[in-house]
């Protein structure tokens, strides 16, 4: 199953190729398009929210529907847009950056994607099946446990299944980075993007189990009558809040660290300078990851945990500003003395620095517990987390897409359209969210369906909605750019940006075995090191030989399909026990596929030396 075969055959073959692929580069494509699809859905939800809030006492959508929209917007954007984008980047870049032929577990890599997709489809199926979840993306009990209909059940199962996929992906990348680096690539020679993915994967490993348990408890409460979050039977709703945020806060760093990694690649490349303070950057990344687990209760300052807990978590939270500040200054000093080229990717990085600094500022402000008594659950918080998640993560994703698109697809995204996207999105973003800081302080609570006239909130909301339209325009331009590039884009060479790391040493897009011979790494910014010594490429670390590659398999898809089917059984067995048949059937499909996988030996296949010498690959 290689691209060569797929190109010769029709749509069916390509589809089959993608359904069965275990190639990390194709899985990256799948994550990218899966994430893009959900990003559009989440974006539409955001636009409806902003239209509803364009004027006071508006009734463009009903109150109940509005709650579904805000829940789905948050859930979709975090779990089904930002996360898959991050995974797309991990898959597309990390094995190339460390000089590996694939990830440690290609089969599990595919499984991770299909579980994510199954989860996303289950969640969004709720729109068509009697109503989406409506308890907010945080799903605080008992609002979520008592929410009528099946909306929250879809939330629970969708997140549970996609969460399993994420966990698998996290472990996979940890092992890949530990075990599969090319000879000579010590930890302190790893590109910073790989470092951030390493830390992110560790955060996934330790954060997601808490969510898994939380979701199980909620599922038991809603579907099987247990009493975890039912105060009438001795349950305790704060357990959910803790479990959710023990996961939820690291999740924010899971999203932002890869974005930091992207900027740490983009800024050096387009300043033609090595990253300033590499060691400090690595240390800061690890420290942010570690502190990320110590601060979750700052989401709960108003819960009533008592002044001691609030004070401890306030101070711990402030501490995170220090490593983050270190990063900002190191980026600035990477540019200092450099030769800055303003490409679209760099433009996103340049836009990111002030935007994220503002987001960080409000972050520190929020950490001050008593001040947070005013901000908490107000539009100030909405503004803050959009500054860090859009201004950090989404800017990072846009930067990385413009930067790595040529490597992923062999074609350069149009720079002019890219810059148009940047400017409309950037201006629209600040227009939308800056004013929301003030709306919050002026007494506008978060998740509010409408507001009354005469409360001084009218103009701010109008401006905010106008900004949202500008952002939407920018996104549309980007999608147009993608289509335009696919049709008309120019093919690019191995190294269109004058890059510094290993991924730029091989063809764009790379052959499916990535490296004909695994390179020998002789320093940080391995390619740059060779360039400075006048070498065109890296020295190989091994003689040309047969390459062992994994076989493709449909089983990951089948396993996920089984869980997809079983979820509907879980959800509807409450209404009618006959749905248990669907539940059991789905589980049988999944376990059956797992059984087949474990009893059938799969030793992979070899690409022969002779074929490699022909330069063909297959």
């Amino acid at each position: 199953m290689s691209t060569a075969i797929a190109q010769k055959q029709g749509f069916g073959a390509i589809l089959w190729d993608y359904l069965t692929t275990v190639d990390h580069k194709k899985i990256a494509h799948l994550y990218l398009f899966g994430g893009g699809f959900f990003f559009i859905i989440g974006g539409l939800e955001a636009m409806i929210i902003r239209i509803q809030l364009i004027k006071p006492a508006n009734d463009f959508v009903s109150a109940g529907f509005y709650n579904e929209l805000l829940t789905m917007h948050g859930t979709t954007m975090i779990f089904f847009a930002a996360m898959p984008f991050i995974f797309a980047l991990m898959n597309a870049v990390v094995p190339l950056q460390i000089g590996a032929r694939d990830v440690a577990f290609p089969f599990l890599n595919a499984l991770g994607f299909w579980l994510f997709l199954a989860g996303g489809l289950i969640l969004n199926a709720s729109w068509l099946l009697g109503g989406a979840p409506d308890a907010g993306w945080t799903a605080y009990a008992p609002l979520s446990t008592t929410s009528p209909g099946h909306g929250v059940d879809f939330y629970v199962l969708g997140l549970q299944i996609s969460g399993a996929g994420t966990l698998i992906g996290g472990i996979n990348f940890l092992v890949t980075i530990v075990n599969m680096r090319a000879p000579g690539m010590t930890y302190m020679r790893m590109p910073l993007f790989t470092w951030t993915i390493f830390v992110t994967s560790a955060l996934i490993l330790f954060a997601f189990p808490a969510l898994t348990v939380g979701l199980f408890l909620m599922m038991f409460d809603r579907l099987f009558g247990s009493a975890f979050f039912n105060p009438d039977m001795g349950g305790n709703t704060i357990i959910w809040e803790h479990l959710f945020w023990i996961f939820g806060h690291p999740e924010v760093y899971i999203l932002i660290l890869p974005a930091f990694g992207v900027f740490s690649e983009v800024i050096p490349t387009f300043s033609k300078k090595r990253l300033f303070g590499y060691t400090a950057m690595v240390f800061a990344t690890v420290l942010i990851g570690f502190l990320g687990f110590m601060v979750w209760a700052h989401h709960m300052f108003t819960v009533g945990l008592g002044p001691a807990a609030n004070a401890i978590f306030a101070v711990a939270t402030m501490a995170i500003a220090v490593p983050t500040g270190v990063k900002i200054f190191n980026w600035l000093f990477t540019m200092w003395g450099g030769s800055i080229r303003v490409t679209t990717a760099m433009l996103w990085a340049l836009g990111f620095i002030p935007t994220f600094t503002l987001g960080g500022m409000t972050g520190v402000m929020l950490a001050s517990a008593v001040a947070d008594y005013q901000y908490q659950d107000s539009y100030f918080v909405v503004a803050h987390f959009h500054y860090v998640i859009v201004g950090g993560v989404i800017f990072g994703i846009f930067a990385s897409l413009h930067y790595w698109w040529p490597k992923m697809f062999g074609k350069m995204l149009n720079e002019k359209l890219g810059k148009l996207t940047f400017w409309t999105f950037f201006i629209g973003f600040h227009l939308t969210f800056f004013i929301q800081h003030f709306l919050g302080l002026m007494g506008m609570p978060r998740r509010t369906w409408t507001y009354l006239p005469g409360q001084g909130l009218d103009n701010g909301n109008l401006i905010s909605t106008i900004g949202a339209f500008l952002m939407a325009f920018g996104v549309i331009v980007f999608f147009y750019n993608v289509v335009y590039t696919a049709i008309k884009g120019e093919k690019v060479s191995n190294d269109p940006w004058d890059g510094r790391t290993l991924e730029w040493t091989i063809a764009s897009p790379p052959p499916h075995y990535n490296f004909k011979q695994i390179p020998l790494v002789r320093g940080l910014d391995a390619l740059w090191v060779e360039k400075m010594e006048g070498n065109k490429n890296l020295m190989p670390s091994e003689p040309l030989d047969d390459i062992h590659m994994p076989n493709s398999s449909i089983l990951p898809f089948v396993m996920s399909l089984g869980l997809f089917i079983a979820s509907f059984g879980f959800i509807y067995q409450v209404d009618d026990l006959r749905w248990l048949i669907v539940l059991i059937g789905g589980m049988l499909i999944t376990f059956g596929a797992m059984f087949v996988r474990s009893v059938k030996d799969d030793h992979g296949h070899h690409i022969h030396k002779e074929d490699l010498e022909k330069g063909d690959g297959l």
Binding site: S62, A63, G64, N67, A135, G136, Y140, L143, T146, P231, T237, K272, K273, R274, F276, G277, T279, A280, T302, V303, G304, P307, A311, A314, M318, V322, G325, I328, F329, L332, F333, M335, W336, G338, S339, I340, R341, P354, T357, M361, T362, V364, M365, S368, A369, V370, A371, Y373, Q374, Q376, D377, F438, L441, M442, G443, P445, R447, W449, G456, M532
Partner: protein, 352 residues
């Protein structure tokens, strides 16, 4: 923290007057114009953190602007290869230590204020205690020591701390009084306590800040802060209410009958009997708003009685009483509107 905060405060007041003039929110709703102790403490910290953070932001932006214009690649420099600098230990130490110091400047008053605002009621004090119950989508206020019940409008005396014990009867709510005190969650399984202290008379807006269902955005309440004397008067009046008192007009008398015939009375209490399923209506005629959000006119009240669902989706009144005609609703409205047991009304607070 008060002393040296003073200087910042002067600066801020100058700045904020300009902001308020240019429309920085509604008075008695915005957190930027505090009228109570808690809100004032919060605002002090907000200002302090803004000052520190704006300083940091300016430093970043100055370097950023300089770097961008100075080191942008110029024509003919495409082949220039800049010096590859590894890093600089002194700089790293500087931008680690200075932020730590700045954060300590913020952390110390934060911790102090956290403990300050969490201070419980002193043992044996006779300060006012109010039990607040959050319900989908209305608030009940019970003055247990005084044997007084009210809903939606919370009366407090100015200039003293009022301790409120909050609990929810259903899902989590959050009690937010931006111009007086910030907010605290109202949980179903434990009681949270905070104090509020209004420094001047007025009618202050409160909101529910935790998503609690479809009408979450409509779960407003108000705090009516009156002078201590007026408050005592109000308590006396409320205590002496006779829930059975006959209204004066014929229409209202019929309304009273309808109030029990149509089943209203099974949920709504009058007088000081404890919380029922719906809001206590003892002083309904003096309410600042009907249903938390409607201007207090008879028309609005009739609309509400006829079809509460269209005004507050998901409320618990819909469908729980017998159908009323518009005429009947009007009579019930007449009855409710004359329920004004106290001379102390929100107008007393506002006219000050």
């Amino acid at each position: 923290m008060k002393g040296w905060m003073g200087k910042f405060r002067v600066l801020f007041i100058l700045g904020s007057t300009a902001l308020v003039l240019s429309g920085c929110g509604l008075e008695n709703l915005t957190a930027l114009d505090p009228k109570g102790y808690g809100a004032q403490v919060s605002l002090d910290l907000i200002i302090l953190s803004i000052v520190i953070m704006v300083f940091v932001f300016l430093v970043v932006m100055v370097i950023y602007t300089f770097v961008f214009f100075r080191f942008r690649q110029k024509k003919g420099q495409e082949d220039v290869i800049p010096k590859q600098v590894e890093g600089n230990k002194v700089l790293e130490v500087i931008w680690t230590v200075i932020p730590i110091i700045l954060l300590l400047i913020l952390a110390v008053p934060t911790v102090t204020a956290t403990f300050d605002l969490a201070e419980g009621q002193p043992e044996g004090s006779d300060l006012l205690n109010v039990n607040v119950t959050g319900n989908q989508y209305w608030w009940n206020f019970s003055y247990d020591d005084l044997d007084v019940q009210t809903s939606q409008d919370l009366y407090i005396p100015t200039g003293e701390r009022v301790y409120i014990d909050m609990k929810s009867s259903d899902v989590i709510h959050s009690f937010w009084l931006p111009s007086i005190s910030g907010k605290m969650d109202v949980n179903p399984e434990n009681e949270n306590t905070m104090f509020i202290e209004a420094q001047e008379e007025g009618v202050y807006w409160g909101k529910c800040a935790e998503l609690c269902g479809p009408s979450h955005s409509l779960m407003d309440f108000r705090v009516v802060a009156v002078s201590p004397d007026e408050f005592d008067q109000w308590v006396t009046d409320m205590k002496n209410v006779d829930p059975e008192a006959e209204p004066e007009t014929a229409s209202a008398q019929e309304g009273k009958q309808l109030f029990s015939d149509k089943g209203c009375i099974s949920c709504h209490a009058l007088g000081s009997s404890p919380t029922a399923i719906g809001p206590n209506l003892t002083s309904f005629g003096s309410r600042t708003k009907f249903a938390g959000i409607l201007d207090p006119t008879k028309e609005n009240l009739v609309d509400w009685i006829m079809d509460p669902e269209s005004i507050k989706p998901g409320n618990k009144m819909t469908g729980n009483y017998k159908e009323v005609t518009e005429e009947e609703a009007s009579k019930i409205a007449d009855y409710l509107l004359q329920l004004e047991p106290s001379e102390i009304t929100p107008e007393d607070a506002e006219s000050e």
